[in-house]
């Protein structure tokens, strides 16, 4: 017998919606812990948005004043340090789970079989996160941030036709002036709220498409569906691990991954900083960064294989892990300033997408998937 719905439930059936859309919603029965990374993105986004609003109240967007306003907030306002560290280390956690989610998608072929749009939205969300990270870094106003702003203006100016105009608009003039930092801050805040919409759209696309799982989209094991609530313990585990790492970073090394004021970019921008430097010129640099993102989004069409999951095509799976290693090397080489390694790693990024992915997925004979006719 169904319980009688309450006054609110009769008018706004949010309980029924929660039960149908989450608690009892069918999901594949073979999900592993890494599939909870997507939910941790939501946790990180909530922390970043709330702490960001509070941080924005203390922030003064003017050259010379930006860094001091934040220093005053962290050093003199009760728990100001906590709001600041939750924001900057929340970003580290966000990019950690975003990079992990992208690697998971590449490894298990979660971008195929009707999930192309969900994948493109995930890559687009990643691109917007990178932009947000850049604007957040730029509005901190240090010497390294000002250098990054000027470099970005040169990149924008290299875009044909509209570039020079947009670049001046970006900086608020020809050079860093009184309003430049305010431009960065306002853009950061505006895109910060916009990205919540993109994330929600991506969640819907991912939820409504054929489900991703470790045996690959469409494989027979996906037909063993279980209700979402079966995964409560796994999501709890993912959350506790996430929160422990987050708390440890805030406690022990809140500046982890952030360069001191004088030089460098935050760790999550290093890969794209490396790509833009390997491009050797503002136009070439921005083209390489955009091309890498477009190729990542084009994986559903670059992948020519008959099965999706790396579990059943070990050679391609090894190349995906090699790609992850290559991207890491690219970031480390950029931080260390070793141009030779940086260029070699950049070349491998494009070789992976344009040569390795189509050829290996086409030529590799997949292992049989258990319980599925070949």
């Amino acid at each position: 017998m169904k319980p009688h719905p309450g006054w609110l439930e009769a008018r706004l059936p949010i309980g029924a919606w929660y039960r149908a859309g989450w608690r009892d919603a069918p999901v594949p029965g073979n999900l592993t812990l890494v599939f909870s990374a997507g939910l941790m993105v939501a946790v990180a986004l909530a922390v970043i948005t709330l702490s960001g609003i509070w941080l924005g109240l203390a922030y003064v967007g003017a050259p010379g004043a930006a860094a001091l306003s934040i220093a005053r907030y962290t050093n003199e306002v009760p728990f100001g340090w906590l709001v600041f560290d939750l924001h900057r280390d929340g970003v580290t956690m966000l990019f950690g789970v975003v990079y992990l989610g992208l690697l998971r998608g590449m490894y298990y072929g979660s971008y195929r079989g009707g999930r192309e749009l969900a994948w493109i939205l995930e890559v687009a969300r990643f691109a917007v996160f990178l932009g947000l990270g850049f604007f957040g870094f730029a509005m901190s106003g240090g010497a390294g941030a000002q250098r990054a702003m000027l470099a970005m203006a040169r990149h924008i100016a290299a875009i044909p036709l509209a570039g020079p105009v947009v670049a001046r608009d970006f900086l608020g003039g020809n050079r860093i002036g009184p309003t430049s930092i305010a431009h960065m801050a306002m853009t950061h805040i505006a895109i910060g709220f916009l990205v919540l919409l993109i994330a929600m759209l991506g969640y819907l696309a991912s939820r409504l498409a054929p489900p991703a799982h470790p045996d690959g989209v469409g494989a027979a094991t996906a037909r063993k569906m279980v209700p979402q609530r079966t995964y409560t313990a796994q999501i709890f585990t993912a959350f506790v691990v996430f929160a422990l790492i987050f708390a440890a970073i805030v406690t022990v090394a809140p500046a982890l991954g952030y360069p001191p004021h004088v030089a460098g970019v935050p760790w999550y921008l290093l890969v794209f900083d490396g790509l833009s430097q390997a491009g050797r010129s503002p136009g070439g640099g921005v083209a390489l960064g955009v091309a890498a993102l477009v190729l990542l989004g084009a994986l559903p069409w670059l992948d020519r294989g008959t099965v999706a999951s790396g579990r059943y095509r070990p050679i391609y799976a090894a190349f995906v892990l090699l790609f992850a290693l290559d991207v890491t090397v690219l970031g480390v080489a950029t931080a260390a300033g070793s141009t030779g390694v940086m260029i070699a790693a950049t070349i491998w990024v494009f070789v992976h997408f344009l040569v390795v992915t189509p050829l290996v997925t086409l030529l590799e004979v997949p292992r049989p998937i258990p319980g599925q006719p070949a």
């Binding site: 220093a71 005053r72 950690g96 990079y99 690697l103 313990a233 929160a243 708390a247 004088v262």
Partner: protein
């Protein structure tokens, strides 16, 4: 395959962080207790450093966040890689500067470096205390959850 997949980016990140933040050589560098995982400031050292700063450095340098000054030392250590070690080395004459900088004996240099770490990050003690509580809570929370989820199977 879930374990290697989860561990690779974490290991890669740790390696990248270590390489990006560790200087090439740490030989013969002073040790600062507050830089450890749960280390806190030595109050006596901070106070001694403050006295030494006001007696020896305050003629040219200032402390405070009121106005952006070139001579303000408040955030100096936050803005330089290995700030405390850098201050110590400057005060021991081990860093080449455009103009000669007055020097202090080793103990005094160590105290001033500790004091400037405190001015740059005065909430370090509070952060580490609250962080220890948060980490303990999460470990207990995880343990309770582990046993709670272990004793029932959701239908």
């Amino acid at each position: 395959m879930k374990i290697p997949l989860a561990i690779i980016p974490i290991m890669a990140m740790t390696l990248a962080m270590t390489l990006a933040t560790t200087p090439a050589s740490r030989a013969a560098e002073p040790h600062f207790g507050f830089e450890g995982w749960f280390g806190t400031y030595n109050r006596a050292e901070v106070q001694a450093g403050a006295r030494l700063f006001h007696d020896n450095c305050a003629r040219c340098h200032a402390i405070g966040l009121a106005t952006p000054q070139a001579a303000a030392m408040t955030l100096f250590e936050a803005r330089h890689r290995n700030g405390p070690v850098l201050v110590y080395r400057i005060l021991r004459g081990r860093v080449a500067l455009p103009v000669a900088h007055p020097l202090l004996p080793p103990g005094a240099a160590h105290d001033v470096a500790t004091y400037l770490a405190w001015t740059a990050d005065p909430t370090l003690d509070r952060r580490k205390r609250l962080g220890a509580i948060a980490l303990s809570f999460l470990i207990a929370f995880g343990a309770v959850g582990y046993f709670a989820f272990g004793t029932r199977t959701p239908k």
